[in-house]
Amino acid sequence: MVFNTGAALLDAIVLAVVSRESEGTYGYKITQDVRRAIDVSESTLYPVLRRLQKDECLEVYDRQFDGRNRRYYKVTEKGMAQLNLYRVEWKTYSNKINEIFEGGVTA
């Protein structure tokens, strides 16, 4: 993709991806889901998850899976609030950009 994904947008995408699973989801799956939308290197995701966890937007818990502990990520209430903020911001932002990009046709 030619457009850079800023830190805030990456946070928002990760929060959105994690929030889709009410039971929470795990690192590998998050990475794959995020990479379906934007082209980021796989090594980018861990620091983001870790930071969101420290910011208390994500909480982690371990669950038994296939004879081992797998770490799950879940969006906290604070994380949901943050995600909603991102959604509103994104809507405004993308509308404005769309207006500029396509405004000539519709206007």
Binding site: A8, D39, V48, R50, D66
Partner: protein, 259 residues
């Protein structure tokens, strides 16, 4: 590189960060390899890049957490220190390169002026562009004077001849069209005269009088048509000739003003 080598290397590289952070990160990547499955191991290692890269990301983020700098700026992750693949050429660089080309180009122009003996290499962009036309104008004037000096002995007679021919042609065309108008007027007058002449014979010999005055009328009408036509022709032709003359006269001055 195998998964074990990768993880060992990563662990070694993360030795400098707090133990808690290290175990978190190692746990994450252990999970990651487990979930990706053994069959995807090589793929995952390839996608993750080198352990050094992964470690650098983790460390940078820890640093960012403390100082709250860099990481949260709009340019963020994807084009900062780590992301090597699929990263578009950083915009500022590209501009810089373009600018460089531009500067180089104009410097080049300055040098070529320098070679001709006008101005120096120290010209900067805008200045130089202002300066450029003036020097070339001076050059042109000098050249024109030189050419004129060289041409004068042979040129004067030829030039005079050309001017004479032009004036002659103009006068001739004036005369031609004026002649057409006069001829038409005369034709009209003759027709009128014959018509009147015919009328005077009306008592003496009616048929002759009718014939004469009829032909007189026809000639008069023809003359009238010719007058109208030639006058209109003059209206078209004379302004054109005038414009042509004016343009020819203005040409040397006009050109000098433009250059």
């Amino acid at each position: 590189m195998s998964r074990k080598e990768f993880m060992d290397r990563l662990e070694a590289l993360l030795a400098v960060i707090p133990a808690e952070e290290r175990s978190e990160a190692l746990q994450f990547y252990t999970d990651y390899f487990e979930d990706a499955g053994e069959e995807n191991e090589a793929q995952v290692i390839k996608e993750l890049g080198s352990p050094e890269q992964v470690a650098a990301m983790i460390k940078a983020d820890l640093k960012g957490d403390n100082s709250d700098s860099g990481e949260f700026t709009e340019h963020g992750y994807s084009d900062s220190r780590f992301d090597q693949k699929n990263n578009p050429v950083p915009r500022p660089n590209r501009y810089k390169r373009a600018e460089g080309g531009y500067t180089y180009h104009s410097t080049d122009g300055g040098q070529s002026y320098g070679k001709q003996g006008y101005g120096s290499d120290s010209y900067k962009n805008g200045e130089e562009y202002k300066e450029g036309p003036r020097t070339s104008k001076t050059l042109k004037i000098v050249l024109i004077i030189l050419i004129a000096l060289a041409v004068i002995p042979v040129g004067w007679p030829i030039l005079l001849g050309i001017v004479g021919i032009c004036i002659g042609l103009v006068c001739a065309s004036f005369g031609l069209f004026a002649g057409l108008v006069i001829g038409a007027l005369v034709l009209m007058g003759a027709g009128l005269f014959i018509f009147i002449l015919g009328l005077t014979k009306i008592i003496a010999a009616l048929p002759v009088a009718l014939l004469t005055s009829g032909s007189g009328l026809i000639i008069f009408i023809l003359g009238l048509i010719a007058v109208v036509a030639s006058v209109r022709l003059c209206f078209i032709v004379y302004p054109a000739i005038f414009r042509c003359i004016v343009n020819i006269c203005r040409w040397p001055f006009h050109r000098k003003a433009v250059s």
